[in-house]
């Protein structure tokens, strides 16, 4: 039962909570505000918080001058593509491990986890050279493949922790009734597994969207997703804060919304089921 809290204490916590929350959120808020300023206002001293000439010209500018849409589509294709491909490979594997476990299942799961802990630099050189020799450098296909593999362990693990919570008896019953394996999966397992699959999908799109090691090292102008496109603003001549803010706002907005929806699943997914 919830304890009754004195109103004054509650108000005190409200004040502190909002203060801390706004402080942590401030850089994002500031980016969004700056994206609606002119370049001059963006660097003005003292800083302009709300009462400035609001303008949307930066968004138009970013789109027309830098082919923003192409990089946005690269991000979409690479993150969604690698996630779907990963699910395709991982769903059967996670199903097998959750419902027909053997003595070695645990070892296989932990081994998969350990591949995720392999630092990317450890394989940077061979992957780079292989990509160069096969013409996969700076292609969406190449990057999608790499991100599929690097997120596969997380996908398998997340699905496994969800599948394990589905009562096996129901599957037994379906099997007794003569359902084939394929029918079992399509009519029994899938409806119960959809929520778990959906959150796995969401979390992995977020991870792939923000991935910034392979995307920076394996792409150039052609297949660069937003992570790499934004990085191009780091050159000294590119210090246009309002435009940087507009490009940044567009890059983080969709994923921030997805992230807010999946905050609960995030804990389970990123701790491999160790914290629920």
């Amino acid at each position: 039962m919830a304890r009754s809290i004195p109103t004054r204490t509650r108000l005190g916590f409200t004040l502190v909570g909002w203060l801390v929350g706004l402080l942590i959120f401030f850089p994002i808020l500031w980016t969004v505000l700056t994206s609606f300023k002119s370049e001059g206002t963006a660097i003005a001293t003292p800083p302009q918080f709300l009462f400035f000439q609001w303008t949307a010209e930066n968004y138009a500018e970013v789109n027309s001058r830098s082919d923003y849409f192409k990089h946005f589509m690269n991000s979409v294709v690479i993150s969604v593509g690698s996630t779907l491909l990963g699910l395709l490979i991982a769903i059967p594997a996670a199903w097998a491990m959750a419902f027909a476990p053997t003595k070695r299942t645990k070892d296989v799961l932990l081994w998969m986890l350990s591949t995720k802990m392999l630092p990317a630099v450890g394989v940077l050189v061979p992957i780079y050279l292989l990509f160069r020799d096969t013409g996969l450098l700076d292609t969406r296909i190449g990057l999608t493949a790499v991100l599929t593999m690097s997120n596969l362990p997380i996908i398998v693990w997340m699905l496994y922790t969800y599948f394990r919570e589905i009562p096996g008896d129901i599957l037994e019953a379906a099997r007794m009734d003569g359902a084939s394996l394929a029918k079992e999966i399509v009519y029994v397992l899938t409806p119960m597994a959809v929520p778990g699959i959906a959150s796995t999908l969401l979390l992995n799109i977020i991870l792939a969207w923000n991935e910034a090691f392979w995307t920076l090292n394996l792409t150039a102008a052609k297949a660069a997703p937003l992570t790499a496109f934004i990085a191009s603003y780091s050159s000294p001549e590119g210090l246009f804060w309002a435009k940087l803010s507009a490009a940044s706002t567009l890059a983080i907005a969709p994923i921030l919304v997805l992230g807010w929806f999946s905050q609960r699943q995030l804990v389970r997914g990123l701790t491999f089921g160790a914290v629920k």
Binding site: R10, F13, A231, I255, L256, W260
Partner: protein
């Protein structure tokens, strides 16, 4: 009961995932290991020759490696201290009932979803810029000398940016752990006259211990590979002041084209990460039974 047929099909269903991961891990790693024993520079094609452990000797005795190792430790340690310490406080705060709690929670976890290149550039330019940045303006408002963050304390600046990204992660996980604490236990202790501090030390903290361990281990794995934040802010400089082991390998591979040296560095990074990974895998493995 699993029949022979199910077992066979189960094995079949696991095959693609297992084989692909095995290929993804073993083939490049074996290549890295092989390259690390070669004198192999992309600028001198056709000149590859066996070098034994020479690359390792060069990499490990390179002053940049020592600096890189120290910077890596400072970066990981600094971010861990800030994010875990701050995360515990944030979790305790968000666990209290107050108005608009859900909204504050959304604001607090938001930085985790911001891509690394965006957070690094926004912090470097708009907040930490020594002349036009918001921090400089704040300092001047209070009559202080603005700090040239990336000039005077480059590594600390990067620690701040990365901490901002990982504080939400620690907060979210510790909050989840905190909320699973049975409130009756706390109330019982309260009735026995335990103060807020001793309740925290003897009941709350032990309950969160496992979640804290998980946060530390997982963050360490990710923090050992911090890359984009360094690339877009300092390029590892000034000098090697913000060069980590990961960044050093990148420089050797893609800027100096020294395949042999970079591969040796990559193997060293793998060994370092494995030391942490062993503990994490054990902890998660225990949880599986």
């Amino acid at each position: 009961m699993a029949t022979l047929q199910t077992r066979a099909s189960a094995r079949l269903m696991m095959t693609p995932a297992v084989v692909l991961l095995l290929l993804w891990m073993a083939v490049p790693l074996a290549m890295t290991l092989y390259f690390s024993m070669l004198r192999y520079n992309l600028l001198m094609p056709g000149m590859e020759e066996w070098a034994g452990f020479l690359n390792y000797r060069f990499f490990l005795t390179d002053p940049a490696f020592f600096a890189g190792l120290l910077n890596t430790l400072l970066l990981v340690g600094g971010v861990l201290a800030i994010s875990v310490g701050g995360g515990i406080l944030m979790a305790l705060l968000l666990d209290q009932p107050f108005f608009g709690q859900g909204l504050v929670r959304l604001m607090v976890i938001a930085p985790f979803f911001v891509m690394p290149t965006v957070s690094a550039l926004v912090w470097k330019n708009m907040l930490m810029h020594p002349v036009n940045g918001l921090f400089a303006w704040l300092a001047r408002t209070f009559g202080l000398q603005p700090v040239d963050w990336f000039g005077q304390a480059p590594l600390f600046s990067i620690v701040m940016i990365v901490s901002w990204q990982w504080l939400p992660f620690a907060t979210l996980i510790l909050l989840t752990a905190l909320q699973s604490l049975d409130s009756e236990q706390k109330e019982a202790a309260e009735m026995d006259g335990a103060g807020a501090l001793s309740r925290f030390i003897y009941i709350v903290l032990p309950h969160m211990a496992r979640a804290i361990t998980v946060v530390v281990l997982i963050e360490t794995i990710f923090l050992l590979s911090v890359f984009a934040e360094i690339l877009v802010t300092t390029n590892g400089g000034p000098g090697v002041q913000t060069t980590t082991v990961t960044y050093l390998v990148y420089v050797q591979a893609l800027l100096q084209f020294d395949v042999g040296g970079a591969s040796a560095g990559g193997i060293v990074a793998v060994v370092l990460a494995n030391i942490v990974a062993i503990f994490l895998v054990r902890l998660i493995g225990k949880n599986l039974d």
